[in-house]
Amino acid sequence: MDLTLKIWRQPSTDEKGKFVDYQVQDISADASFLEMLDVLNEQLVVNDEDPVAFDHDCREGICGACSLYINGRPHGPDKGITTCQMHMRRFKDGETIVIEPWRAKPFPVIKDLMVDRTAFDEIIRAGGYISVGTGGMPDANAIPIPKRDADIAMDAASCIGCGACVAACKNASAMLFVAAKVSQFAMLPQGKVEARERVQNMVSKMDELGFGNCSNTYACEAECPKEISVSHIARMNREFFSSKLISEKEK
């Protein structure tokens, strides 16, 4: 198929960007979206033009590196997949495809379609872990965990940290990302010990980094490639308020 691509080009964080049109020909319907961009980049290199920068790595939907805003939607038109899992059979011959980077203040553009998502790592560093050192742990079967709770923890833990939730949100809120981690540990007995500090520290780090508030539009859930439910946000809110109340009481 032949396509017109409208791609956001921006040389660096501090320079202005703009859309540039490109044509690609004879793209196979079986090619993945990123393989289509590979074809474009080969073409650009051969013609002495600067290839389009974009993050990608595993190309099987798990590393969370790819992050394209395609025709106005994070990871494109299909539900429950990442950009790299999108195949060209989803598009029509002759179509124009608009490709942008994630747009959110806490994710500055590095170049073209590549953004800086270290804010997510900073939120995890604020408490997204259980403070155990290596070694000397009790037997793994010492604490039985109801299958239902373990399954909910796994649902939350399947977050790949891609940032589609932030990109989808009109407020650039990171609530779904933070809630997924808080919720994973809230469901597990191992996570209870530090639950109060965790939720407070992660939420205040999220606010400090400039992510916006949640206004319950559920756009994050709709665009999450791992289909993580907003019910985790509700769980995080409960954790947050109860931790605040207990902290107040102890004052």
Binding site: S28, D30, A31, S32, E35, D38, E42, L44, V45, V46, D50, P51, A53, D55, H56, D57, C58, R59, E60, I62, C63, G64, A65, I81, Q85, H87, R89, I110, K111, D116, R117, T118, D121, I124, R125, A126, G128, Y129, I130, V132, G133, T134, G135, M137, P138, D139, A140, N141, I143, P144, I145, A150, A153, M154, A157, S158, I160, G161, L188, Q190
Partner: protein
């Protein structure tokens, strides 16, 4: 030869590691604060090592090529992690895990290393559960297990089809905790381009900032490489796009020996190749072989009809199907080790029984399992894999059998290390897939995650102290030595040289060409003739690359073509060493199959008299033939015999 002392502790197999730990040198807490460690790579092995070093009190600098340590390719491991817990009470033990791994590796790994791996496997599961890794559980709340290739017990722990992701996120959270504490400094989007050796010891690295292009120097008392495998030398593999062999290759060129470079794992269950635009291959987890049955048509006529699309596989009656693994290996059936399953698939396809439009595919069929267990059970077990398959192939595997074919997945070869995971360069330690150590000539499924975490959590934190104990009098190592000057200069020269070529062909076109040579001549069916041809063709391709590669832009910017070109220069040398190693090894073992050396039934035929050794290659200089050193393998505790999965 004294360079190749594996330093295996004395004593009975089961006591070696205990004895080692009891007698090794340690560093006291006050001195740990004065010692610096560089960790390159933050996948399972690197992140777990860096976090553990930080907890102990060392100053750690960790480097990764991604924007975050959470993206390392360990994340893509699907099926599971082995441990000898014997929770199902089905006869497992540390010894049996050890034995299955040694046998699965076709008796080309060190007994002491493999035993230690099996010994610490249980602590890994305990560790991960304590970190909050949500492993699959049964209704009683206890951990669930499933079975994997090469074993007759169920010892694989898993988290849906995302086990690698959950284990990596566990290690990443431990690492994040240490970064927050300040014991680990994390440097992201940074690629190691050389190792710095001062007075015979590894003392630092040269890196390139992947955003600004800045070349930087970093010094430490010891360097750990945990940079993964080099399967991408084949261009098409299940590895991530940026997974590469460069850090290991630079270490080799600075004096670290390279062990068994030709030992490559070709995984039997990948989605077949289609089209010449393809950038990578996708694995379908080995766990699918628990419930899927592998078959091709019994007659060539039916195979041809299926290839042409005139016959639907679901219309082919049971008696016209050849479940060739169940037929050839009744004891292990569809759960034979990966090398055996891959070769059997290739044999059927080469003989004309393959399916799919190319004839290079076999079926992995879930019809029986769906009938037996119900679709919902299969969906719960493998739902995400089925979804991945459907997205790529555009067919519903619940209704039509999956098509699979072998693809490059893992490299058992890597930097030679002794029992302490130290290379032939003192102070250079190598962990995870980047070393050669534990899997012999074939890795069993669910053992890579086990090895990565074993090295990082439970081996290196001990063994590195044995080295650092006599480094406490060395003040912080500086970067203003002639060795750092020389290394930085040579890195800059290579970059300038590459940018100056200004040829006509892109890096990817060269990578595809190298991949074709490797797959056709150094792939699943090797011969002396093919390997000799590969050496010549790779040399020609290398010469052409340096004359004709085209890289746009400059160094001081985000320049992914330059990144690829730098990795490519190493693949073009590493590929040749792989062919040399395969040529030298006049036997078949595990994934290394020399067609000249097979039994009448087509099984791998080892030559224990002449080849029961680790081939450790030593760099001797630019365009000079490398030197082979041999580490003989001694089997004191297991009886070496032909692998039998019948």
């Amino acid at each position: 030869m004294d360079k190749l002392d594996a330093k295996i502790p004395q004593g009975p197999l089961a006591e070696k590691w205990t004895n080692y730990k009891a007698h090794q040198n340690l560093v006291n807490p006050a001195n740990k604060r004065k010692l610096d460690i560089i960790v390159v790579g933050t996948g399972l092995a690197g992140a777990s090592a860096a976090a553990s070093f930080g907890e102990l009190g060392f100053n750690v600098k960790a480097f990764g090529i991604h924007d975050s340590p959470r993206r390392a390719h360990s994340i893509a491991a699907q099926g599971g992690i082995n441990a000898a817990k014997n929770y199902p009470n089905d006869g497992d033990s540390v010894y049996r895990l050890f034995y299955d791994t040694i046998k699965g590796g076709d008796y080309r790994a060190r007994e002491a290393n493999v035993y230690r791996l099996a010994e610490v496997s249980n602590a890994i599961i305990d560790q991960c559960v304590a970190q909050g890794v949500p492993f699959a559980r049964e209704y009683g709340g206890l951990l669930d297990n499933r079975s994997f290739g090469g074993a007759q017990v169920s010892r694989t722990f898993y988290a849906r089809g995302q086990t690698g992701q959950q284990l990596l996120l566990g290690a990443y959270s431990a690492l994040s905790k240490e970064i927050a504490k300040g014991s680990v400094k994390m440097i992201t989007r940074s690629e190691m381009l050389d190792l710095v050796v001062v007075d015979g010891r590894a003392r630092g690295i040269i890196t390139r900032d992947l955003i600004t292009g800045k070349i930087e120097r970093h010094a430490a008392h010891a360097v750990v490489l945990a940079t993964g495998g080099y399967g991408n030398v084949f261009f098409l593999s299940t590895n991530a796009m940026t997974s590469n062999g460069s850090a290991a290759w630079k270490a080799y060129k600075k004096g670290a020996f390279f062990g068994n470079p030709s030992f490559t794992q070709i995984h039997p269950t990948c989605i077949p190749v289609h089209g010449d635009f393809q950038s990578k291959l996708t694995l379908m987890s080995e766990s699918l072989r628990n419930d899927g049955r592998i078959w091709v048509p019994k007659s060539k006529e039916d195979a041809e009809k299926i290839q042409k699309g005139t016959l639907n596989p679901t219309d082919l009656p049971e008696e016209k199907r050849d479940y060739y693994l169940e037929r050839r290996y009744p004891a292990f059936g569809n759960l034979v080790p990966r090398d055996v399953a891959s070769r059997a698939a290739k044999e059927r396809c080469d003989a004309g029984y393959g399916v799919g439009s190319t004839g290079l595919a076999v079926y992995l069929d879930f019809e029986d399992a769906i009938k037996r267990l119900g679709r919902h059970v299969i969906e719960a077990r493998y739902g995400n894999l089925f979804q991945m398959y459907e997205k790529i192939v555009d067919e519903n595997p619940y209704e039509t059998p999956m098509m699979i074919y072998p693809a490059v997945h893992y490299t058992m070869g890597g930097i030679w290390v002794d029992y302490e995971l130290q290379s032939t360069i003192p102070g250079l330690f190598v962990a995870g897939e980047a070393n050669f150590s534990d899997h012999g000539a074939n890795r069993l499924g669910a053992s890579a995650l086990m090895q990565g975490l074993s090295d990082g959590y439970f081996v290196l934190p001990y063994t590195i102290q044995n080295y650092l104990a006599d480094q406490i009098s060395v003040a912080h190592v500086g970067t203003d030595s002639p060795e750092f000057d020389a290394a930085e200069k040579s890195v800059k020269e290579v970059i300038d040289k590459l940018l100056a070529v200004k040829g006509t062909d892109t890096v990817d076109t060269y990578h595809r060409r190298l991949g074709m040579i490797m797959w056709n001549l150094v792939g699943m069916g090797r011969t002396g003739e093919k390997l000799k041809k590969a050496i010549v063709e790779i040399q020609e391709l290398r010469a052409s690359f340096w004359k004709n590669v085209k890289i746009p832009g400059k160094n001081e910017m985000v320049n992914m073509e330059l990144e690829k070109a730098l990795r490519m220069t190493d693949y073009l040398e590493l590929g040749e060493l792989m062919a040399r190693d395969g040529l030298l090894r006049e036997e078949s073992c595990g994934g290394h199959f020399r067609e000249e050396h097979q039994t009448p039934e087509g099984e791998a035929m080892r030559d224990d008299e002449n080849f029961s050794f680790v081939g450790a290659w030593e760099y001797t200089g630019e365009n000079k033939e490398p030197k082979l050193n041999k580490e003989p393998l001694h089997f004191e505790f297991v009886e070496v015999k032909q692998r039998n999965y019948k």
